[in-house]
């Protein structure tokens, strides 16, 4: 288990005791620590930030904001939904939720989400009284993920609403050219859409002034019998939505900036990151302190 994963439950318990939005600001302030744990991400985010035409100020400031959001969103759901119901409700905004309601009433619906923003769309929609898309947990490997896709297909054939990420892992369908790095859109959702005829609604989420805003966009065009034309139609429908999101909220596009699902990291960068993690873990366990104290005692 990684150091971050081991610290997560303790951090969340502590932060849940702090008032909202102070707790999320505290987390964001820890963002720069992420740079030390993942130096390759820092370098990558600086390069990405320098390519953003919409940024205000120097690239390092946007890179800092990216790291802040990355830290803020790590246990975001656990903090966002803690507290009295009216207080939680005030933190949530849904735009275009009626589109999801109408589509779900008609039958099979895919809520097409992205690794952008806080990643809490399903819970936000449920809290605000809209149909909650069912997500099947991410499974690595073709065999495991095939089972997940089949499960979603069955749900769709029963007229349910399913949530699936467009930009996670799996076979590439197409790329959306965005400043800094393209978004690699995967084929899983597209195959499900074609095989079930499900209405597909792009769903994007963002944080704005300590509130989470989930936007349900108009549905993608109905599937074209020709797969090539259908892919192109989907690409054309998604491109302006994602370009607009990146232009307006570049600091919340950390999955693009850090290439979470893009190309493989060079091995040298990976080893540097692993070294930082090892040092952090040893400091935490007190090993280094004990080693230094032990040496001091021996020399004295």
């Amino acid at each position: 288990m990684s150091l971050l994963a081991r610290l997560r439950p303790h951090t969340v318990r502590l932060l849940q005791k702090a008032p909202w939005p102070l707790n999320e600001h505290l987390l964001a302030a820890c963002g720069p620590v992420y740079w030390f744990l993942h130096p390759h991400s820092f370098r990558r985010s600086l390069e990405w930030a320098a390519c953003q035409p919409s940024r205000r100020g120097p690239a390092w400031r946007l890179a800092l904001a990216l790291a802040g959001h990355c830290a803020r969103y790590y246990p975001y759901g656990a903090l966002l939904f803690t507290g009295e119901v009216p207080a939680v409700r005030r933190r949530l905004v849904v735009e275009g939720g009626e589109r999801l309601e109408q589509a779900a009433a008609r039958g099979a619906t895919i809520a097409l989400v992205f690794h952008l923003g806080p990643q809490v769309a399903a819970s936000v929609l449920e809290h605000c009284g809209y149909p909650k898309p069912m997500f099947i947990g991410t499974r690595e490997g073709a065999l495991q993920w095939a089972g997940g896709l089949y499960q979603m297909r069955r749900l769709l054939m029963n007229g349910e609403t399913v949530g699936i990420s467009a930009d996670g892992l799996g076979r590439e369908a197409f790329r959306i050219p965005l400043p800094g790095a393209p978004m690699i859109v995967r084929a899983g959702w597209w195959v499900l859409r074609r095989s079930t005829g499900a209405t597909t609604l792009p769903v994007l989420e963002r944080r704005e002034r300590s509130r989470v805003v989930v936007t349900v966009h108009p549905p993608l065009p109905a599937p074209d019998p020709d797969p090539g034309r259908d892919l192109e139609a989907c690409r054309q429908a998604l491109t302006p939505i994602l370009m607009d999101y990146q232009r307006r909220f570049p600091a919340q596009c950390f999955s693009l900036a850090f290439s979470f699902f893009g190309s493989e990291r060079p091995s040298t960068r990976r080893s540097v990151a692993a070294a930082w993690r090892r040092i952090g873990s040893r400091v935490l366990r007190g090993e280094l302190r004990r080693a230094f104290v032990g040496r001091a005692r021996v020399s004295s």
């Binding site: 073709a142 065999l143 095939a146 089972g147 089949y150 499960q151 069955r154 076979r171």
Partner: protein, 87 residues
């Protein structure tokens, strides 16, 4: 439908979806569906499963029938189909 017929039909479905370029020359019951065999990805495995459902008139249980073990080789998949048809 005999066990051999189910196996050969399953092989035919896999060969069609993997196409000739990825179908190994020495294809048989022990050929893996993914790495080192037909090299299918998750989307293609879904296609195989749906094609098997249509061809054999069975409905799989996502949790029970489609596990890493049952989707490992041609024989394992054919065994699940046989069990579904018998049950």
């Amino acid at each position: 439908m005999t066990a051999d017929a189910i196996l050969s039909e399953t092989l035919a479905i896999l060969s069609r979806i993997a196409a000739s370029i990825r179908t190994p020359a020495d294809v048989g019951p022990a050929t893996p569906l993914t790495d080192g065999g037909f090299w299918l990805d998750s989307v293609e495995i879904l296609e195989v499963v749906v094609a098997c459902e249509e061809r054999f008139g069975v409905v799989f249980d996502a949790e029970m029938d489609l596990t890493t073990e049952t989707l490992k080789t041609v024989e394992n998949l054919a065994a699940v189909i046989r069990a579904k048809k018998a049950g």
